[in-house]
Symmetry: C2
């Protein structure tokens, strides 16, 4: 049975060219970049080549890129790294010594719909240091209001962390505007760009963020490799103490094969972004319109327009999404409920809850996220298979208003 994979926001297949870029480093070129001999030099050059490829994707300088093991490490490093540094040195921003010496509380701002790696990192700082965090609400379409950020800023706010695009709805957040607001108050700004990177253009100079986190396996690189942009002059305590790798931001032997692959993924994303968008958007729209047009009791979750072109989140009222997911899986169609990170818990998605969805809607929410390999035939297959399955499940519900 052919696999119809509509779960690219969870993870993506490794592109053959990207796999090929890593193979030399699983073979002859196995050196440790920190050693001082020929195989080490090859490894070091590969890491620096990749750093350039990553920087080019987001219009950063190569020495503003730090390689990580993925998005969760990046989010943890951005948040804990900045706040630990603040603990120790106070917050310095544009030459303005905001607060020095001793730790006396502190405050951060994020949104209620961030990835658990962000929310839990702030929880960690609360637990150990009483560091407070305000979670901005989102409206019914899943968007935060930039005015809410202005209202939430306090005298002791040190960091704002707001995602570039949401993993469940695909909503694109007004990060540029919110980063400007933060900077007007001398506050550092981090964005979790895991769901945006490689899909849509990112220009860190234009966005104005101080830190940005990305993960390779969300755009066709292998798992285990990600990167973080840290604007020159931004201080952050390392999450990994130890050696001097990555300019002190991240100790440990570099994952050279993963980094080489990540570099190639950035290169392919940069040069093929328009093509990718033009391939995926019509497929997503065809799927979305097809479902909304043929299945009754459906609601599109998320913003109609400001949304990444590959994501579509639909609530099928009066069904359990989990049941539909399993029926689709048996027919070779892979979709998800909520995010992959929380799918093992039975709790409803915190994103959809924050959007104020009724239980009947949030329990029936399914995420379709498309990618490079998808085809119109796959979309049509899904549109053929899905509606009768939904109808069957809906008719099993005593609440379903049968026609």
């Amino acid at each position: 049975m052919k696999l119809v994979y509509f779960d690219h926001n969870a993870t993506t297949p490794v592109h053959p060219e990207i796999k090929n870029a890593m193979l030399p480093f699983l073979g002859e070129a196995f050196g440790n970049p920190s050693s001082s001999h020929q195989p080490a030099r090859g490894a070091r050059m590969a890491v620096e080549k990749a750093r350039g490829q990553v920087a080019a994707l987001i219009n950063a300088e190569p020495d503003e890129i730090v390689f990580t093991s993925g998005g969760t490490e990046g989010d943890n490093h951005a948040i804990k790294g900045v706040l630990f540094n603040f603990l120790r040195h106070g917050h310095q921003w544009h030459g303005h010594q905001w607060r020095g010496g001793q730790w006396r509380g502190g405050h951060a701002i994020t949104t209620a719909v961030e990835h658990p790696a962000v929310l839990e990192s702030f929880m960690f700082m609360k637990k150990f240091f009483g560091f407070e965090t305000t979670c901005l609400p989102v409206d019914g379409s899943g968007m935060p209001d930039p005015d809410d950020l202005k209202k939430a800023i306090r005298a002791d706010t040190v960091l704002v962390s707001i995602m570039t695009a949401n993993n469940e709805t695909g909503n694109i957040f007004p990060v540029r505007e919110m980063a400007r607001t933060a900077h007007e108050h001398g506050i550092l700004f981090h964005t979790d760009a895991v769901q945006m990177t490689g899909k849509l253009p990112i220009d860190v100079k234009d966005l104005g963020v101080d830190l940005l986190t990305a993960s390779g396996h969300k755009f066709n690189a292998p798992k285990g490799a990600g990167f973080q942009f840290i604007r020159k002059g931004t201080a952050a305590e390392a999450l990994f103490s130890g050696g001097h790798q990555e300019r002190g931001f991240r100790a440990g032997t570099e994952n050279v094969p993963g980094i080489a692959a990540l570099g190639m993924a950035c290169e392919l994303a940069r040069t093929g972004m328009k093509e990718k968008m033009e391939h995926i958007r019509p497929l997503r729209d065809r799927l979305e319109e097809g479902i909304l047009g043929s299945v009754s009791e459906t609601v599109l979750n998320g913003h109609g327009k400001n949304r990444v072109y590959n994501t579509c989140n639909i609530s099928f009222r009066y069904i359990e999404a989990e049941a539909l997911l399993q029926m689709l899986d048996m027919r070779g169609i892979c979709v998800s409920t909520g995010s992959a990170c929380s799918s093992e818990t039975a709790e409803p998605s915190h994103v959809l809850q924050a959007m104020g969805l009724s239980p009947v809607c949030s329990r029936g929410a399914v995420r379709f996220s498309l990618g490079l390999g998808n085809t119109a035939e796959e979309v049509d297959y899904c549109l053929y298979v899905l509606p009768p399955l939904v109808r069957r499940l809906q008719e099993m519900s005593p609440l379903f208003p049968a026609k």
Copy 2:
């Protein structure tokens, strides 16, 4: 020019079978283990298979294994994880509530010759929490004295972290005995086993350690994958906050290809350990005896007997090791001075300094670390090339007592 690679303590080539074990997960089997559909199930099974392979290597239970990105992450997680947990809950050991509630200082013990990932993790705890650490000295052969551990234990000691084998000398430390001492005082014990794992048998039940850290790329797995043993019932705060992966010890999408490779590396190490030892030990001995017998003004650094069979650290008096390293590199022979992690700094090795080596000895120290692919011909080539190079460098020194 054929490469003669004698730097296996820095990193190792990826074994072809291990590379093959990861390839499916760079192809068809790309799922996210946390998702709920067919490709996810394949990925999840691969991770659990690897967990079993890792557990079998060290006689642990599969659910005592946590996958990491490598040794530095592991050391950081073991130390910061245990101490952060202590901060919050006090130290509970064998049902004995050692200290509860509020953070009031605290103390740990390690050795002066640990890896920077260990030493700097303790520095981090000092910097942020005033947490004190005693570094046990080593004798001239690089060995710590178990009696020193007994003397260093204080009423507020929470954790002892002592490496299984040293990366620079290969010395094998009396971890079993020292773990027993720690436990007699209700203190947790971590061992950095990065240089031991895959080379010599490890039985965590027999050793009695509570946490053990290993890195795949030191025994023919790719970089970017390591593991940590955490004995059942041992509490540690996660270094990565976020999702529920790895039983809450380590959030983030699993590096499935790296983990599959690591599992295979453990399998091969377990089944081929005797053979590996019987291949490498005679080569190391031949190299060591050859150098010590043919080059004047040499000293073997490390313990004569209690040493990993692949490592040989020799001081060539009156030369700069860095110069010899470069001359050997030009002839295709890869060795190292100090560890790869500190080779970019010009400072002398903290390990050799702790052993009390004179400057003339520590500046001329070279580490040869052999591995599976090495041959007798390579050893003989090195024994042919090296002595005249050393002699030439020695004769350039005004201090050299020429015959």
